[in-house]
Symmetry: C2
């Protein structure tokens, strides 16, 4: 016998399923919640349930959103001639934080990964091509902002190939290189070699 | 504008209230939950709500428990002549894990701390004395297992003083010293000096 409360053990077991939370932190969280008032805990629980019950995906760009279409796709002030292609919704939020980009997005929902049995049809590439082929809003630039790993690279190459026939579309890619504020000695070889290959005139 | 989902932001805000969870981990958890099916998320939410709605405290020993009295206080096989005094319920679970102790417990719900305005009446010392004074089940040993900090020390001294008049009660204290499996060079001075002061014949 380890405890006097099965309910506490169940809460710990459930909390331990969260990413980055082991049994020890799960126990600490559960005991912390026990000390809070009921409203505090109910608010957290409701917020979690709402995540699944109320959030949808934008049928245009695929980002997770409370409304369909999402606030970015609906925003007429944003440049509809540019589409930035990312793997996941959180990438959209990260790019939005920079305030650097005022175009639209397309969330693939992953990257092509033959080893994981994820082919081109398992990510939203067809939907991207449908947007490109739609004459209502001509696209002039597709910016690839996928992760700098082999899956992201493969997906970028695949999309680039599909977009080749469209002469009016520039396919660009965000720059990969040395992150700001670091020193060269802390940079891995792959990043450094990429930074050299992508060097610009000063 | 940072996101396209107010509901997601709310979930992140709520999750960030959990101990040990900053906004970054809260975001990671929320996005992870979004990818799970609804049952997975509902189970976690229900377990949290049950924590507050269904868990009670044992009216005898004060441990958090699904039933009152708790399974330890109700267990007739446990030695009712011994009471181990701890600060929090989790201490009971930790001691239970060792399988070393077969007596009963008393959870104070904290320790005396004048700086935090916590006096003897704010922790369950009166309830402990009521158990000691209850003639139905005579107590022969009170084991103090409080935290080895100034609050725990002060509380231990205070309880020891209250129990002095009871000749039939041994007041003991768990041993504080070098933790098992460590090397002396990694031990802080206070622990080492305590270990010396509490040395036993070999």
């Amino acid at each position: 016998m380890q405890g006097t409360s099965e309910i506490l053990e169940q809460a710990i077991e459930q909390l331990a399923k969260l990413p980055g939370t082991g049994r020890k932190s799960a126990r600490r969280i559960a005991l912390y919640l026990l000390k809070q008032d009921e409203e505090f805990v109910t608010k957290i629980a409701d917020a979690l349930v709402n995540l699944k019950k109320k959030i949808t995906r934008c049928s245009i760009c695929g980002v997770i959103s409370d409304n369909d279409p999402c606030s970015i796709c609906e925003n007429v002030k944003r440049d509809g001639t540019k589409i930035c292609v990312v793997e996941e919704s959180q990438d959209v939020f990260l790019i939005e934080k920079t305030n650097e980009y005022k175009g639209k997005y397309h969330v693939l929902g992953g990257a092509i990964s033959p080893l994981d049995n994820i082919g081109p049809d398992d990510v939203r590439i067809k939907e991207l091509m449908a947007r490109v082929n739609n004459d209502e809003e001509p696209i002039h630039e597709v910016i690839l902002a996928l992760n700098p790993d082999s899956e992201g690279e493969a997906t970028s190459y695949y999309i680039n190939k599909l977009l080749k026939p469209f002469d009016e579309i520039d396919v660009t890619r965000i720059a990969y290189g040395i992150p700001m504020g670091t020193e060269l000695e802390f940079i891995d070889e792959a990043t450094l070699s990429r930074a050299f290959a992508s060097r610009n005139s000063f």
